[in-house]
Structure formats: structure tokens, C-alpha cells
């Protein structure tokens, strides 16, 4: 299982954290990449709600939540919490369902190392060595 990159966004689209393990394709502009990622996810959420067969096309009930998508080169896993914090993980295409892993990352790494940090300002990007190493450890133990 190869892990490529990891993003955390808040509800407003601010990228709170970005971590990469392997990214062979060079990113031309980092800010553009974050914005494109958030824009893609935002639009995918709306798209999925419209296309949901269990709710009428006209009611935006928001029952349907987008979980993951796969392309020929990578698979993107997505988890959004009611707090508005969304976690995005890009892995190789053959990976299975990583929702439990993302929930684990949110509850152990993010809540413990970031939210409980008294100096953390919500809505601001953060750099936390503890979070980065907790995430790396979670990735290694999950592999």
C-alpha cells in the first residue's frame, strides 16, 4: 500500500495541514493545488447529493456522503466530520476501504495532537511535529 498525500481542510476551504510521502508528479503551484483539491471535493459533494437515487433530485437533503473515488493511478479517500473538518488521503488504486483508518487518524492524531493543543487556533493552518509523527506512525502500523 503506497500512500501519496494527505490533506486536512476545514469548512471554509482552508487547508489546515498537508503531508506527502510520495508525489512523483511535480506540483506547479501549491496554493493552486490545495484550492483545486477543495474545489473538486466541494463540487463532488454537491454532485453526489444531486445524483443520489434515494433522495429526489430537487431535495438537497444531504443524506448521501461521498466516500472515495478511484482512478487508474490513485485512489482518494474522504472523510468529513460534522465539525466541518475533512480528511483527504491519496493512495494507490488497489487499496481497500480506509474510512476506519481516517476515523482513527481523526480521533487519535488530529483530536489529540491538534485540537487539544491550547495554542492551536481553529481555522488556521497548523504545523505540528507531534501530529506529523503520529500520522506517520499510524500509516506505518496500518500498512
Amino acid at each position: 500500500m503506497t500512500y501519496y498525500a494527505f490533506y486536512i481542510f476545514n469548512r471554509q476551504g482552508v487547508c489546515l495541514h498537508y503531508q506527502e510521502w510520495s508525489r512523483p508528479r511535480t506540483v506547479r503551484n501549491e496554493m493552486d493545488d490545495r484550492k483545486m483539491m477543495f474545489g473538486l471535493l466541494f463540487s463532488l459533494k454537491a454532485f453526489v447529493n444531486k445524483l443520489d437515487p434515494t433522495s429526489g433530485g430537487s431535495e438537497m437533503s444531504g443524506q448521501c456522503s461521498f466516500q472515495s473515488f478511484r482512478t487508474n493511478k490513485y485512489k482518494l479517500h474522504y472523510l468529513e466530520n460534522p465539525s466541518g473538518i475533512s480528511l483527504v488521503l491519496m493512495t494507490d488504486p488497489l487499496t481497500g476501504d480506509l474510512r476506519e483508518f481516517l476515523r482513527h487518524v481523526y480521533s487519535t492524531c488530529f483530536t489529540e495532537c491538534v485540537v487539544k493543543n491550547p495554542f492551536y487556533q481553529p481555522g488556521q493552518p497548523f504545523t505540528s511535529d507531534q501530529f506529523a509523527s503520529a500520522l506517520n506512525k499510524a500509516v506505518r502500523t496500518h500498512l
Partner: protein, 134 residues
Amino acid sequence: MSIFSLYIVNKSGGLIFQKDFADIARLNTNDALMQASIWHSLHAISSQISPLNGCTGIEMLETSTFSLHCFQALTGTKFFVTCAPRTTGVESLLRTIYEMYSDYVLKNPFYEMEMPIRCAAFDLQLVVAIKGMA
């Protein structure tokens, strides 16, 4: 029947065919046109944010209530179906639909490229193929 609907999008992003196979909430024509074009753009963006080179776009999308499988032909025409989660055999169904598209639509001398598909034979064969999957 676990296949909900089929959409065919031409290479410019316009919807050229849409059919529902199950008794589900139907999108009205305008919404269907909009969603198909939105899908065309999302498909393109997904290959731009790829961490690796050579990404051709979203092939499968999973949500809590449905899955979406997409096949993009080399010409840029996209075929996508919405189905129940964890449905199997959808990839081969998409290939079959592509074959039927090339047989009943493209070989129809009255069909104009990139225009909406109005071929009775194509519709019939589609229903047979979808029923065969169930």
C-alpha cells in the same frame, strides 16, 4: 435491478443519452444536463490533481447510497452508470455498452456525431444487456 441509470457524455461535456433503469427519483432534463457537464469537469480535474503522471480520470466513485462507474473511451466520450454499492460486473457492462454504442449508434448513417442519441435499436439492446446483468 441494481443498475440505476446510464449517462453518456460527449467529448465536449454535453449529455447525449440518459436512461433510468430502476424506479428511482428522476432528475429532470435540465438537471441531468447540468450534472453531466459537471461530471465532465470533475473527471478532468481529478486527472490534474493526480500525484502520478498518466492519470485518465475517475473510474469509480463510492458514496454511502450508490456507486458510480465511469468508462472513458479514447475519443473522450464518457459512459457512466449509477448503481447500488458493491455491484459487481459493472466494468464489463460498460464495455458491452460501448460496443453497442459503436454498433447501433455510430454505424447508424443518420446519426450525427456528438448529438443526442435517438436510436431505438440501441435502447432495446441496452435494456437486454441491463436485464442480463440482474
